[in-house]
């Protein structure tokens, strides 16, 4: 090879790197030459090759590379372990068992009635395990195991509701033309609030007939006297309905999923809990053939 064909020569403390092209290099270690030979080689290459670059490289160390390799393997190992933990039905099972007192491994679903929820368990813990079970359910083949764990979680939910549920009955205090049985409010903090109404029926000769139009508005009054409209429904609109002879019309309950952010709020935007409700009243608006114009009655319920 002619000197003019040599691409470049790099000299550092320990080597001559003779590049015969941009990506092809021959390495001559200085250690294989004596001092005189080294001087001669340096002079020859310096005289004939352009560019001749003298480069001071860092001391060569494989230690950093080895540390890097160990680091990568550790990260990959940790990632695999974390993935295994995420998808492990065993861990999920342990999490589910941790919700109960004294549960034995492989508890059967028919033994659920004997289980007791730990006092310290809160809804959020059950929901975390439920979310994990949901994420695993698509990937894991052990559907029978998963089904058993989901049964446990369902039971944990039931026990939590039984333990934490507050129920209050609001009884009718005022109301002349219409009657509604008591209103019951069931509440589990940060979970749900259900307001159930009885059926609506006529309570006087004036209303005990065919009704052309019937609408209700349900309001709750907070302890701070804030009036909150939480239900509005037209029960009879187009088809006249017979409400004679103790016939009644059903009213669907109101359900708030508090853990999903649904809740009744006062005008300041503050959430209303069960203990904040002073009373509930229902405004009934109706029209029948006797009364061409819209009639209205307020039925008040107090705890």
């Amino acid at each position: 090879m002619k000197w003019t064909d040599v691409h470049q020569v790099i000299e550092d403390e320990s080597y001559y790197f003779i590049y015969i092209s941009d990506s092809k290099c021959f390495t001559i270690p200085k250690a294989c030459m004596d001092v005189d030979t080294n001087e001669v080689v340096k002079r020859i290459l310096g005289e004939h090759v352009i560019p001749y670059i003298q480069h001071h490289s860092q001391p060569i160390s494989n230690t950093l590379v080895k540390i890097g390799v160990i680091f990568i393997i550790s990260i990959l190992g940790l990632l695999l372990f974390a993935r295994w933990l995420d998808n492990s039905i065993y861990i999920l099972e342990q999490d589910a068992y941790d919700l109960f007192v004294g549960i034995e491994n492989n508890a059967k679903l028919d033994e659920l009635s004997n289980l007791t929820l730990k006092e310290s368990v809160i809804l959020n813990e059950i929901q975390q395990v439920e979310r994990k079970a949901y994420s695993i359910s698509g990937k894991n083949q052990k559907q029978a195991e998963l089904g058993r764990i989901e049964g446990l979680l369902y039971h944990a939910n039931e026990l939590l509701i039984d333990r934490d549920k507050i129920k209050r009955i609001f009884s009718r205090e005022e109301g002349e033309y219409w009657k509604i049985n008591n209103i019951s409010v069931e509440y589990v903090s940060d979970y749900f609030m259900t307001i159930s109404y009885g059926n609506l029926g006529a309570n006087s000769p004036e209303t005990e007939r065919k009704v052309d139009y019937l609408k209700i508005e349900a309001h709750m009054v907070s302890n701070e006297n804030a009036d909150i409209l939480f239900k509005e429904e037209e029960l009879i609109k187009d088809t006249p309905t017979d409400l004679t002879e103790d016939k009644e019309i059903g009213i669907y309950g109101t359900f708030y999923q508090l853990h999903e952010g649904e809740s009744p709020t006062n005008p300041n935007g503050e959430t209303i809990g069960i203990n904040d409700i002073a009373d509930i009243y229902i405004l009934v608006q109706w029209k029948n053939k006797m009364t061409d114009e819209l009639q209205e009655e307020k039925i008040v319920f107090v705890p």
């Binding site: 002619k2 470049q8 003779i18 990506s23 092809k24 290099c25 001559i28 390799v69 990568i72």
Partner: protein, 120 residues
Amino acid sequence: MEIQYDLQPKDIWATTKNSRIFSEKLRVRLSYVQFLFWPLGIYLVQVIFLLTDSVPVSFALTYPVFYTFIGAFVIGPLLLELLFYVQYKRFISKPKNLHNKKIVFQKGGCEFTTQEKTFL
């Protein structure tokens, strides 16, 4: 003048390091891999996985940014180093790649004699 020598494994590693500084072709290729194809690849793979999981598009586009950063600037360089290390180990595992090298310096040029290809 004629020089006969054998290379040691550390000489091959030194060649790798040197070529990563002075080989224009290798430098450009590494830059493309390190700063373009690798980050873009891991970002796109994550986005595609998230989109197939039916997450909102805005989430699918923003969520992988952090992991792309980690992948591009932590995992990527280490992985590249690992690849070089594996290539180096494979090269030095063949004794004929290291032994019986000869270079002859002549007036008009030089002559290399090797049993096997060079590392690069």
